[in-house]
Symmetry: C2
Subunit: 237 residues, 2 copies
């Protein structure tokens, strides 16, 4: 069984939600955007005939002659989690984990709109007034609403993880979100994070997992830059 991750090179992006649990669980994969380059990702998407994907990230699972392609972060993680021990064994708990991951996907979409409120095809510089208005609402209403939700879940689970009694992809996704928000909005996050001790503790525990610590210290780990999470001081509420 061979895993090939297809995602844009140069940014952690949505691909990072897939990389983190694979790294934490010590599962081997080829990161094709990095090994083969951006043009290969474009060519790969263009070449799809049967069951095309709308976008990357996409994971390709090759098993001899057989090959399955799975796109959409939550769909990829729901497939990988139970197979590699980073989702609960209980089906009901797995559905709840999927629900959390889908809510994280909604948050990520909103984060992206802080710098691209009008169009993903235009530069941030061409939509700055709209971005300023959007970001103000995002800071005031949306960040607290999402973080309150995650904190309630974390505080209600005595294991010290988001769902069940061991780490899951929900914990690695939560760590990515908290790191990303802190990179993009350091002043804002410094003010509000003290109100969220349970999710901060999960973030710390996840970072202490051997696979995550090794990955984040490696040169495979791409820093935040101009992807989904961006730091523009004027948008730091």
């Amino acid at each position: 069984l061979t895993y090939r991750l297809w995602y844009w090179p140069g940014i952690p992006g949505r691909g990072e939600f897939v990389r983190l649990p694979l790294e934490a669980a010590g599962v081997a994969y080829e990161d094709c955007g990095i090994t083969r380059g951006e043009a290969a990702v474009v060519a790969y998407l263009d070449a799809q005939r049967r069951q095309p994907a709308f976008a990357v990230p996409l994971i390709e699972i090759a098993d001899g002659e057989e090959c399955e392609r799975i796109a959409q972060v939550a769909n990829i993680l729901a497939y990988l989690g139970p197979r590699h021990g980073f989702a609960p064994t209980d089906e009901r708990a797995r559905r709840y984990l999927n629900q959390i991951q889908l809510t994280i996907a909604d948050l990520i979409e909103e984060v992206h709109r802080t710098h691209h409120p009008v169009s993903v095809s235009l530069y941030y510089e061409d939509q700055k007034p709209e971005a300023a208005r959007y970001a103000s609402d995002f800071h005031e209403r949306r960040i607290p609403k999402f973080l309150d939700y995650f904190e309630r879940i974390a505080a209600a689970n005595s294991s010290g993880w988001l769902v069940g009694d061991a780490w899951s992809y929900g914990d690695t996704s939560l760590r990515l979100v908290l790191h990303g928000l802190t990179f993009a909005f350091p002043k804002r996050m410094a003010r509000i994070l003290p109100d969220y001790p349970a999710i901060c503790a999960i973030c710390g525990r996840t970072g202490a997992l051997d696979g995550i610590a090794a990955y984040e210290a490696s040169d495979r780990h791409q820093p935040f830059n101009d992807g989904i999470f961006r730091h523009y001081p004027e948008l730091d509420g």
Copy 2:
């Protein structure tokens, strides 16, 4: 086994993605927003302690003493589909169907931003210039990108349905999207829909299902109005 759907009354909204396949399959459910009123939905969300949901739609599955709550449209449909025959039996096909539903969720989020590009807390009237800019990009780039994707999938499947050889929740979701876009942007859709014969055919076939025809003719069926799909002539590209 009793199903209770929790969603805001008065709009089809995201709840309609759940209602349609249940109606098509003849599965009984209580539509609690309608039977108990909006205040009951607010109270229901506020009362959640263990495993809270971020938002509705949410489906509650009561089985004697046992009660499970599932939120997020794609998560709800992935649960209901295989249990009521509106998802393929093959697991791989089910993953592909989930992938399509998640892409529809992304589109729905983009549709919502045509009239709320800056903030979901403000009225459309307070963000009209931003909405005009956003809608222009949405018409020019995003609608064709999404419809091209659905058309490729539909054209590649000889059964006349989106995935597998029978109708699934992918088909009811696609019908809702095409109806919604046509309600919101009638001029724009009239111009481009002729380029998409395969998905228009699926939309028609889905509407001819006994359960859908009966539901859409009933007074349970709520018309589009000021929900996700809204008709503002000035935004009709």
